[in-house]
């Protein structure tokens, strides 16, 4: 059992990383003051790696991801610190043109809400063709070739009769179909990183499951990297290689999927795991008591401490740092920091 102090990002000397977020903080301006929604997030994604970002609604997952594509309205946010390195270059320091380049050719994001993600007044084909046309990756393709590329992408997401779908409008498609179209759009041009923001949440479970399988297959087949945002550890377990657990703007634990499920360390992770329904029964789990803290006045301590079954005096006074407990398994909790009997148990 080794305990290493220090920052997760500092340990990452590996330059082959596709995406590397270091100490990112994002605050929303509200009339009461700044809501500190993302409070120092460190995470990275390797080439062709699938990672999961898990946490409950409103914990800052989507905000973090939207920062990668710079999709937040700059007049509504404050970014006090942090770096978002994409292939070693900081997206936050890029100019408008370079950001457009990232959006066009490198990163795509599947929206949380398939119902709202498609423009209601344009046909699917028109929307998809524009993505291909403005990606700049098919400069020589004519109208017909672009249409071919789109039809292929629609076929890839297991929708038959691609040509009819391309001619139809969002309101004519079911939720599941729209979600597939959103996936097809994100994969229609080759991009290295795909961010999927809770795809399928709005759909019923069987279709949700199909969508997840489809996404995994496509990402693996095309060798893309994936960040899967979800509030369900069960979904993450099925899909991804490595998991980040996020709570109220902080990464509280990260590990390979297997390791995380074998020995979850953070009390919050434990709570989440108990929420995954099991066939073996036991009824509905106890869940996690309480609510996400107030982001405007989050307090100086661990943000989970008011809900934590293992909270101690120090938790309210100081913020725990991420520490490596086992190779690749990091956790931010004082439970594993004090040089006392608790460590012996591990």
């Amino acid at each position: 059992m080794t305990i290493t102090n220090g920052n997760l990002a500092e340990k990452s000397s590996d330059t082959s990383r596709l995406l590397d977020i270091r100490g990112l903080k994002v605050w929303y301006k509200t009339y009461r003051g700044n809501a500190q929604v993302v409070d120092g997030v460190d995470m990275y994604v390797n080439q062709a790696e699938k990672i999961g970002l898990v946490g409950e609604s409103g914990c800052g997952k989507t905000t973090t991801m939207k920062m990668i594509l710079q999709l937040l309205n700059p007049s509504q946010i404050v970014v006090p610190e942090g770096e978002i390195l994409f292939q070693g270059r900081d997206i936050r320091k890029m100019n408008e043109k370079e950001i457009m380049e990232i959006r066009r050719s490198y990163v795509s994001m599947i929206s949380q809400a398939p119902m709202a993600a498609l423009n209601p007044v344009f046909s699917i084909g028109k929307q998809m063709e524009d993505i291909v046309r403005y990606s700049g990756q098919f400069p020589k393709a004519g109208r017909k070739e672009i249409r071919e590329i789109c039809a292929q992408a629609v076929n890839d997401v297991m929708i038959p009769d691609a040509s009819r779908i391309l001619d139809s409008f969002p309101h004519q498609l079911s939720g599941g179909m729209r979600q597939r179209i959103c996936i097809a759009m994100s994969l229609v041009t080759p991009r290295q990183l795909l961010i999927a923001d809770e795809p399928g949440t709005a759909l019923d479970v069987t279709i949700q499951d199909q969508i997840h399988r489809l996404l995994r297959e496509l990402v693996e087949k095309k060798g893309r990297s994936l960040i899967m945002i979800t509030h369900s550890l069960g979904v993450a377990r099925e899909l991804v290689d490595r998991i980040y657990i996020m709570y109220a703007g902080n990464i509280v634990e990260t590990a390979e999927t297997k390791s995380l499920f074998a020995s979850p360390l953070h009390p919050y992770t434990n709570g989440l795991i108990q929420c995954v329904p099991r066939l073996s029964g036991g009824g509905i789990s106890a869940g996690i008591y309480g609510y996400v803290p107030d982001y405007v006045n989050p307090g100086i301590g661990c943000r989970f401490c008011s809900r934590c079954p293992d909270a101690k005096a120090i938790c309210a006074k100081e913020k725990p740092k991420l520490r490596q407990i086992k190779p690749g398994h990091w956790v931010a909790c004082f439970k594993y920091e004090a040089p006392s009997a608790e460590r012996g148990e591990q």
Binding site: R104, A116, N119, V121, M185
Partner: protein
């Protein structure tokens, strides 16, 4: 689309039928003898009796309606008390001028609304936006007939920039009558100078009709542009790196244009109504001025004809608005 249009047209025919009943009822509700009213105080009793017979005034009311409608469908509204001519002739003479006026007013209001709406959403919360906001309040609160008086005064007399009164300057001959709308007729005959002169003459009354709507419609366009800008689909499109200009001009503008088109259609009713007052102020020889004169003298045949025709014009405008909205919005076009 075809099905949608057919349904729309059938409904319109029913409403038109209803309007005719309403107008007929109004014309018969009036106290006194319609025949006496039509002929005036000094007409002989024999003449009145003769007209009563011709108007079937002794038959039951529904039969009267039947005879009236039969004539109306043939284009016969009877004689006008004021002009002592067939009302249908008067309508033919005066209608094109009004059409020209309201069409120009409609084009001015929607075009300017788009310009100002786009400006105020682009420069949101700047002085441009603020100025347009103030003007929208002024536009709401100052009635069209007051605008007409002010424009007449300042542009016509004080600064003398634009012509007021009459449809053409002296020395420019009337165009050969094709549609009766001078601008169109001049254009069809290739007389650019005449067309511009006609446009200059129609501009002030049209602006007086349009100015109240311009800034209101601009505010509506602004708020739907700003609403839509916050929508997920615009965020998604931005995320795919589609250029800002393209997003503004198509992905954002098209869904935002729907609400302002609807409102512009409703506002057209106001334009038609206010034309009654504005034409009088500018002495514009249109059907509204003609009808207002008829109203002052209880010239029922003329009133019925003009109200029915205005109803038809408004209906046609509504159908056009519906077609535009259907073209913009596939949910309307293809059904939900």
């Amino acid at each position: 689309m075809v099905k949608f249009l057919v349904k729309r047209l059938i409904l319109s025919v029913f409403v038109l039928f209803g309007i005719s009943v309403l107008i007929f009822c109004l014309a018969r509700i009036i106290p006194g003898d319609p025949a006496r009213l039509a002929l005036g105080e000094r007409a002989s009793d024999e003449a009145v009796a003769e007209l009563r017979e011709a108007m079937h005034l002794d038959a039951p009311i529904y039969e009267q309606y039947y005879y009236w409608l039969k004539d109306v469908l043939k284009g016969d509204f009877g004689l006008s008390l004021n002009t002592q001519r067939d009302v249908s002739l008067d309508v033919q003479q005066f209608l094109p001028a009004t059409l020209e006026l309201v069409i120009v007013a409609g084009i001015i209001s929607i075009a300017m609304a788009f310009v100002f709406g786009l400006l105020s959403s682009k420069y949101k919360d700047s002085w441009i936006d603020g100025t347009i906001r103030v003007f929208s309040y002024i536009g709401i609160s100052v009635p069209a007939f007051v605008w007409a008086i002010l424009f007449l005064l300042f542009f016509g007399y004080v600064w003398d920039i634009l012509p007021v009164f009459n449809r053409l300057s002296a020395g420019i001959p009337e165009p050969n009558r094709i549609t009766g709308m001078y601008i169109l007729d001049f254009c069809l005959q290739g007389n650019l100078r005449g067309a511009l002169d006609a446009l200059a003459h129609v501009f002030l009354p049209a602006l007086a009709l349009a100015v109240g709507h311009i800034f209101q419609e601009a505010r509506i366009l602004r708020s739907s542009l700003i609403d839509n800008m916050e929508k997920e689909f615009i965020s998604v499109t931005t995320g795919y790196g589609i250029p800002k200009r393209k997003i503004m001009s198509s992905y954002l503008l098209k869904p935002s244009a729907i609400s302002v088109t609807t409102v512009a259609g409703l506002d057209f009713a106001n334009t038609l109504g206010n034309a009654f007052l504005v034409e009088t102020i500018f002495n514009w020889p249109g059907i509204s001025r003609y009808c207002l004169n008829a109203m002052m003298t209880k010239d029922l045949n003329a009133i019925s004809a003009v109200v029915l025709i205005i109803g038809i014009i408004y209906m046609i405008v509504n159908i056009i608005v519906d077609i535009v909205i259907a073209a913009l919005d596939p949910r309307v076009r293809l059904g939900d």
